[in-house]
Amino acid sequence: MRSDDSYRALFLSHPQPMWLYDRTTSAIIDVNDAALAHFGVRREAFLETYTGNLSAGPGANGRTFEIVSQPCEFDGRAAVLVALHEVTALRQAEGALARVEDEQRRQTTEFEERVRERTVQLQAAISELEAFSYSVSHDLRAPLRSIAGFSQALIEDAGPSLSADARDDIARIIAAAGRMDHLINDLLTLSMVTRAEMTRDSVDVSELANRIVAELADMSPTRPVVTTVAPGMVAHGDPRLVRVALENLLTNAWKFTSRRERACIEVGQMDSDGASPIFFVRDNGVGFDPAFADKLFGPFQRLHDASDFPGSGIGLATVRRIVLRHGGRVWAESRPGQGASFFFTLQ
């Protein structure tokens, strides 16, 4: 057993500020050095002027303390042992956390505000685009109809008195109006593809491809084209948009095989190891220089002479937009004269 003096020495030298007071009278019974240092008073003054229910008070250098009171018996008296716990680090951490939370709230508010602003701007841009494409659809086509219509009327009304050259000139005017009509239609499709709401559904790619191929065959019944469509291909996408994409790819294949005696077009699906299926449209047509493979999908990009293969240069840009809207990829492989393969995913 140690003497009481030894225990008192432990109390007095304990680094944690502590004091003991009478629970009935609140008079201080004893106080340790750390507590005196904390309050900055001498022992006598503390014992005389302080009572037990002190508040912790601020520590030096911004340190923070919390009071922990423990009722106890001391020399047969009801007493309370009080200890000050330093919680500076805890409070600092709490403060830092609160500041982080404040900052997060501020950033969230700012972010939401920015999203709102952008949404408004975006909506304005979309309505502008809608107004534009409406205008393209309606107002740009009207004069075109006049040009084509009255040129035709001219041939009908004055045909016999016109020279063969003059009639040929008028035929060129009519043909040009027709080409511009195609261009406008293709631009409208591109704009529709961008704006249209997307609803994903299960799409029977095989059936779709067969139907498009049949439509193409109807339009040029004299062309023998061998088409192979793999059975059972299914995609998960917007049926209307998938149709537009496949239509463009197959129309291209049809067009660029027009010089082949034995034109072959294949629609299939590649093994993709459980990832989203890779569909392809392959032809044995004129192909293209692989150096330009990345240019192929930009709007108004044409790799062939318009007189050889007429087109607006918008078809593959449309395919690309459709694929991107589905979160998929599209790419092409070819060598000049060796046909072309177009691959796409729709995930």
Partner: protein, 147 residues
């Protein structure tokens, strides 16, 4: 003898349409309304055409969408809301293929929607087909004042 009301503000399109009708073997009287107000006044016998109250309605209305003053969609809506004209055959004849226009026209009760082709021969063919179907093949609803 069939009566057609052509609601069209573009003078060239009016001329081309009349030309196409002249070539068709259907004998028609084509009345022209140059904007939505004229069309509504003519059909509902209001405003400047209040004198028409007892006159028969046309057998077919060809309606452009983009029109001055009151546009074609509003004309369509008001005609369908009026007991006198709610059943009159209306074919929307327009340049637009905006899916929104198609949807609105059918929702508002258009009988048919035809996009004007650029090529005049196709345009003539379209008008002849519209005329022959709506005036000859189709059985018109019994309308007040139909002959």
């Amino acid at each position: 003898m069939y009566q057609i009301l052509l609601v069209e503000d573009n003078a060239d399109d009016v001329e081309l349409a009349l030309r196409a009708f002249r070539k068709s073997d259907l004998v028609n009287t084509v009345t022209i309304a140059r904007d939505g107000v004229e069309a509504l006044d003519y059909l509902l016998a209001t405003g400047s055409r209040a004198d028409r109250a007892d006159n028969p309605l046309p057998d077919l209305v060809l309606l452009d969408i983009k029109l001055p003053r009151i546009d074609g969609l509003q004309v369509l809506e008001r005609l369908r809301a009026n007991p006198r004209t709610k059943l009159v055959p209306i074919v929307v004849l327009t340049s637009s293929i905006e899916p929104k226009d198609l949807l609105t026209c059918y929702t508002l009760g258009a009988n048919s929607y035809v996009r004007k082709p650029i090529d005049f021969q196709q345009f003539s063919k379209a008008l002849q087909q519209i005329g022959s179907y709506w005036l000859q093949t189709n059985q018109a609803p019994p309308l007040p004042g139909t002959t």
